[in-house]
């Protein structure tokens, strides 16, 4: 067993590794990350995760629900640290996994991966408390500076394979509309389908645009499904449920998916412009790099000022034209607490994924991860020239990209008795 595997074992048990090992790990991670572009290309299938915020036990629950590394290909959209009490254990484990399985683990930067923010929101204090000095904090911050700013997911399938089919013949799957393809599916942490939506099978590119919609989570995800049969362990998480392609009349043309922590920037009109940023620095207070990590979508037109004091608000029209110009079918982002774990907006043009359940041990929310399946029709080859679909072909049917099939796995905070939370759980602050 290599030192790295030993470190992974130790961190999985929520035990820290020695400072010298952290230093070595951070050095290796930096060597790896420096080779990555600002926008990393990731092939589907992939499981996209939002904020973690040092909630180590919930990260373990995420791996239980989404599948282990390296079986599942993960993309974490930043905010690994701060707020929770186990930022070090969480970030160092993710970093170890990144170094150990670089092609199965993508980490991009969140606004909390910053010197300034971590001194206010807890990671700095945690490093001092657990290691007795700021050294480990400094090593980690140097890694933060090298994290990519975004990722592009290529080759995602437009259609999900219904959960459970092919696995267990007794499974009752939801009743699809005639000739429809499964577009979204929501599963609870027991693997039970709680909601699914279908879209009309694509006959011609011009038919599909009317079928897109916002998917709202059901109100009570934990109540189980009324649509499925007995609870069974469904599907193989993270392996992606790819369409078998037999029923498709037209070859799916799923657009690429841009993943970024916050959102868009008025200074960035193309994915290529993100590639031009000099990212190896502390997150600036303003500018394109800051916006990508700080901005939020909002029900407005155009751009608005952000109440966060950094980044901007951007409306549906901005998302629509950005996606169109860049051949994207979806922007996946994190950054905002959403009580149901995920939230699609603007006709499904953008989704917020939030992966910290009961955020800060106080908010009472559930968390979610987003699985994108692999498009079997592509035969394993995917276009590397993302952002080129629309532009190179001018106005035509190729401009109408189909959104990927989206499987959300929703989960709650790790049960304290089974996941070894301290007997007296950490208490959140209230006004008393």
């Amino acid at each position: 067993m290599s030192d790295l595997d030993r470190a992974i074992e130790q961190l999985r048990a929520c035990r820290l590794i020695p400072e010298s090992q952290v230093r070595e790990l951070c050095y290796k991670a930096r060597e790896l990350l420096i080779e990555e572009g600002n926008v990393v290309s990731v092939d589907a299938p992939v499981t996209i995760c939002g904020d973690i915020h040092g909630q180590f036990h919930d990260l373990m629950e995420l791996f239980r629900v989404g599948g282990d590394v390296p079986d599942t290909n993960y993309l974490f959209m930043g905010d690994f640290v701060d707020r929770g009490f186990y930022s070090l254990e969480s970030f160092l484990l993710l970093l170890c996994l990144k170094v150990r399985y670089p092609d199965r683990m993508t980490l991009i930067r969140g606004n909390h991966e910053s010197r300034q923010i971590t001194t206010v929101y807890g990671f700095y204090d945690e490093c001092i408390r657990k290691y007795g000095s700021a050294n480990v904090w400094r090593y980690c911050c140097e890694v933060f500076d090298y994290l990519a700013l975004g990722a592009i997911v290529l080759g995602a399938s437009s259609e999900l394979e219904p959960t459970g089919s092919g696995m267990n013949d007794t499974t009752q799957s939801t009743m699809p509309i005639d000739d429809g393809e499964l577009e979204t599916e929501v599963l609870n942490s027991r693997g039970e389908v709680t909601m699914s939506t279908y879209r009309q099978r694509q006959r011609a590119a011009s038919d599909i645009s009317t079928d897109t919609q916002n998917i709202s989570p059901p109100r009570d995800i934990s109540s189980g499904s009324t649509q499925t049969g007995p609870p069974i362990r469904n599907g193989v998480p993270g392996t992606g449920a790819s369409g078998d392609g037999n029923g498709s009349l037209a070859t799916s043309r799923t657009g690429a998916v841009l993943c970024v922590h916050g959102g868009l920037s008025p200074l960035i009109d193309s994915v290529d412009k993100i590639r031009l940023i000099d990212r190896k620095q502390e997150v600036p207070h303003e500018g394109a790099m800051c916006d990508l990590l700080w901005s939020d979508p909002d029900e407005i037109e155009g751009w608005g000022l952000s109440p966060r004091g950094a980044g901007f608000l951007f409306g549906g029209d901005i998302v629509k034209s950005f996606n169109h110009l860049n051949g994207l079918s979806l922007v996946a982002r994190a950054h905002q607490l959403v009580m149901e774990g995920y939230k699609e907006m603007f006709d499904g043009g953008i989704v917020t994924v939030w992966s910290a359940p009961n955020y800060c041990y106080r908010c009472g929310n559930v968390a979610a991860i987003l699985e994108l399946g692999e498009d079997a029709n592509n035969g394993g080859t995917v276009s590397r020239s993302n952002g080129e679909y629309g532009r190179s072909n001018g106005v035509g049917e190729l401009n109408t990209v189909v959104s990927p099939g989206r499987r959300y796995r929703v989960f709650e905070a790790a049960a304290q008795d089974t996941r070894g939370m301290p007997a007296k759980k950490p208490v959140a602050d209230y006004f008393l």
Binding site: R12, C14, P307, N358, C363, K425, F431
Partner: protein, 369 residues
Amino acid sequence: MAAPRIPNLNTLRRGRGRGRGGLRGVDDNGTRTTGKDRVVQGTDNDASVSRLSAVELGYLDDPYATALTDPGNATRRLPIINRGTYVRTTAIDQLVAQFLGPYSPDATHKKQIISLGAGSDTRVFRLLASRQPSDLVYHELDFAVNTTAKIHAIRSTPRLQKALGIDSSSQDVTVSEAGDSLHSSSYHIHPLDLRSLSSSTSPEILPSVDTTLPTLLISECCLIYLLPTEAVEVVSFFTERLFPPTTPLGLILYEPIRPDDAFGRTMVSNLATRGIQLQTLHKYATLKAQRTRLHEQGFVSGQAVADIEFLWERWVGEQEKERVSRLEMLDEMEEWQLLARHYCIAWGWRDDAAAFQGWTMLQAQPGDV
């Protein structure tokens, strides 16, 4: 796929240590003091630590916060907590200022404030320091363990004495032998368990309260710890028994609300692990329920309520909002809204003498949620 190994219980580190209430266990001479009471008494420590945090970061200007917080407990609170402390404090300040009106040494304008469960609150020092010679009388009621600590702080801190307009040699000031009660011309500290008011028949239980003065009652996270019947009885003691019906009376409540959504449920269960029960929370769960409560308790001239988010949005001016926003980067907008929607300030009054006229100008939150 194997489930990840379950972390080793014994190696888990505790979260950040929570400062124990420095005042606890100092004095237990109250015969009725139970473990639960001590927990409630300890909540004062939360409030004073939060206040000191907000003061040190520049949210609030309060030269007395340091003297009334155990320095060993000083902790920097999270930005959303600091902002909440700021909104709560300044909103109640505004209500108090509107009640008191402009300073006037003329005795005919004299007013009275009675603060329930005042703990280490600094409001009396801030008010009296700016209104000398005093045009108000300020009473504080709390458990003896809390009043003793406060009187000790006053005795050992010249700055606090100066604010009150007294000095230790002054004959104007009387402190009980046990050191748990204090009486001066404009400031009185009464050591008592609020629940004893309901059974008391003697007005002497609160010496020096002038039942003819227009009076403002303040409960900042206090009545909520009592049983619903006890909370009603405490307010009724003032509205029906101590004060004649002709005396203008007002009440300001600051309390959590909305216990029935995901955030509210989590709040209730988190506080329960600390032994804290918010006993009237479900009875007064909404803004509407708080308004109805005020009316039912005799504050018939007006009832109004607003949650902390509304107060931040509407009561804090744009310039001030900008100043406060610049103090710390507040990243948690969604969490702030969640938190701020779960606390409210309610204010009601009965008034035939226009003593509470200033309150009619203040913007309340519409709606029944």
